[in-house]
């Protein structure tokens, strides 16, 4: 029998504060938002990207456009998993060419999702620059990837799972660490 422990590491107000801070950092780094577009990685990167855009709109007066990216066709483990993940739409309502794209995802872990997202974006055009914003960086990178904007750095064990739950997708805002005693390596479940 395996026992499961859940530890809440971020509640709704702290997620809120993190996003507001990231929005300010994005503005500090990109003075002119006119050439900036956000891209949320399916599934939970999408509501995060929308929230960031809304905050940027409040602070700067104009909200950058938000696109949606499904990275499943670019995964590096497709021939290893038995059931291919359900494909969702990719929809970017602005020209990627020569724009500054800020990629938004919920958790940065092995870096494989980001690698896939970079390849997917490059097939859609040639951005001038790509920056990366994540709500949680939990470490254990397997590729040379780092985020430009991080909501919270969260030291974790490889066997732990980090669940980001958002109102839009899960009914409430929280980030929890799930520890399963006798569980398998989280990377086996969350690849890429």
């Amino acid at each position: 029998m395996s026992t499961t422990t859940r530890i809440r590491v971020l509640d709704a107000p702290s997620i809120d504060r993190s996003l507001t801070r990231i929005a300010h950092e994005i503005l500090e780094r990109n003075k002119d938002l006119r050439s900036v577009g956000l891209v949320g990685v399916q599934t939970r990167g999408v509501p995060l990207a929308r929230r960031l855009a809304q905050r940027l709109g409040v602070i700067d007066g104009q909200a950058p456009p938000v696109g949606v990216l499904d990275i499943n066709l670019y995964r590096d483990d497709l021939s290893r998993i038995s059931d291919h993940p359900i494909l969702r739409r990719t929809e970017i309502p602005y020209r990627v060419d020569d724009s500054i794209v800020i990629l938004v995802d919920d958790v940065l872990f092995t870096g494989r999702t980001v690698r896939a997202a970079l390849d997917a974006l490059m097939d859609l055009g040639r951005p001038r620059q790509i920056q990366l914003a994540v709500l949680v960086d939990r470490g254990h990178r397997e590729l040379p990837v780092r985020a430009d904007f991080v909501g919270k750095n969260l030291p974790t064990a490889e066997t732990e799972r980090v669940d980001v739950r958002l109102t839009e997708t899960d009914g409430e805002d929280e980030v929890v660490i799930v520890r399963v005693e006798g569980g398998k390596d989280a990377r086996e479940e969350e690849r890429p």
């Binding site: 066709l73 497709l78 291919h84 494909l87 739409r89």
Partner: protein
């Protein structure tokens, strides 16, 4: 969620959930045709053999394009180049093909059951691209994808399938699919081209076209297959067109926003009149577009690696 079988042999064995999974996945592929780079690396390193033992241009091209857009390597075998004409048995051909270790064999064959035979004796994923007068699953799936795109649902729709039902694998696969998804299907054609037992598949049967079209949301015309018409199934093409051709007058009996479908190639002036084929209700070219997305979805879903391995979490 995944497909139960490593093969796509027909619509009959699929569950409504599996059909929905294929259609949902095809949504994700449909925008790739609009991009500047119409290619994704998903099936890089996979090999697909398109083995066509019966003439076909559009189905083969559609599969080929789907394979190329998924970055798979494809290889074409057709009747004229295959050694079947030299007397090799299907089993020997299969062994020879498998010696080249393909990941998929897409098979078009004039005999019903040929893909099932390959699936049983081989170790490669088989996709049925039409077997005799039996099934043509990807055609039914692309038709369904087109219908869902236009109508948003299947439940409660009335679909009329009109023409040569006897020789039509398209009709059979469509009846399976549409009845499974909750649509009402009426098939119609001259008595010589309507096989018995269709009611057992769950379809209504009529010989009168006006009755079939009455109130239909979807009017699906089938091609008169000249190449199979040596048996004198009807007196003349002209008489056929009079009784079973779709013209603007007949379309008025259909529902107001009805769509007209045809698997192609169309015989203008025989089963469908030019003004209807080119009219606003016609979705014939949408069907062609859907074909590539649906075939990409099928290959993607069948390409899951080790089926014995644990399913992934995301």
């Amino acid at each position: 969620m995944r497909l139960e079988s490593p093969h796509l042999l027909g619509i009959e064995p699929l569950t409504p959930g599996e059909i929905t999974l294929i259609l949902d996945t095809a949504e994700g592929f449909s925008d790739i045709a609009e991009r500047e780079i119409k290619k994704v690396p998903t099936l890089r390193g996979k090999t697909v053999v398109n083995f066509f033992v019966e003439p076909s241009t559009r189905t083969r091209s559609s599969f080929e394009l789907a394979e190329k857009r998924l970055s798979a390597d494809s290889l074409n075998f057709s009747t004229s180049t295959s050694s079947l004409v030299k007397g090799e048995t299907l089993l020997d051909t299969l062994r020879n093909l498998e010696a080249m270790s393909p990941d998929f064999i897409v098979l078009r064959h004039s005999e019903a059951g040929a893909p099932h035979f390959l699936a049983k004796h081989g170790r490669t994923s088989i996709v049925n691209a039409g077997d005799g007068a039996h099934e043509h699953p990807t055609q039914a799936l692309l038709d369904a994808f087109t219908i869902r795109g236009k109508k948003g649902r299947f439940a409660g729709l009335k679909v009329a399938i009109i023409g040569d039902i006897l020789h039509s694998r398209v009709a059979r696969s469509n009846i399976w699919l549409l009845t499974k998804m909750g649509a009402t299907v009426v098939v119609c054609g001259p008595p010589t081209l309507l096989p018995r037992g269709l009611d057992r598949l769950g379809a209504g049967v009529t010989h009168r076209m006006d009755e079939a079209v009455e109130g239909a949301d979807v009017v699906m015309m089938l091609r008169i297959q000249h190449e199979r018409m040596k048996g004198g199934f009807f007196p003349t093409l002209r008489e056929y067109a009079t009784f079973y051709g779709l013209n603007a007058q007949r379309m008025k009996r259909a529902a107001k926003d009805a769509i007209v479908m045809h698997p192609g190639p169309i015989n203008r002036g025989v089963e469908i009149m030019g003004d209807v084929a080119d009219g606003e209700a016609s979705v014939i070219l949408d069907q062609v577009r859907s074909g590539v997305a649906v075939r990409m979805a099928v290959l993607y879903l069948l390409a899951g690696g080790d089926r014995e391995a644990a399913p992934s979490e995301r």
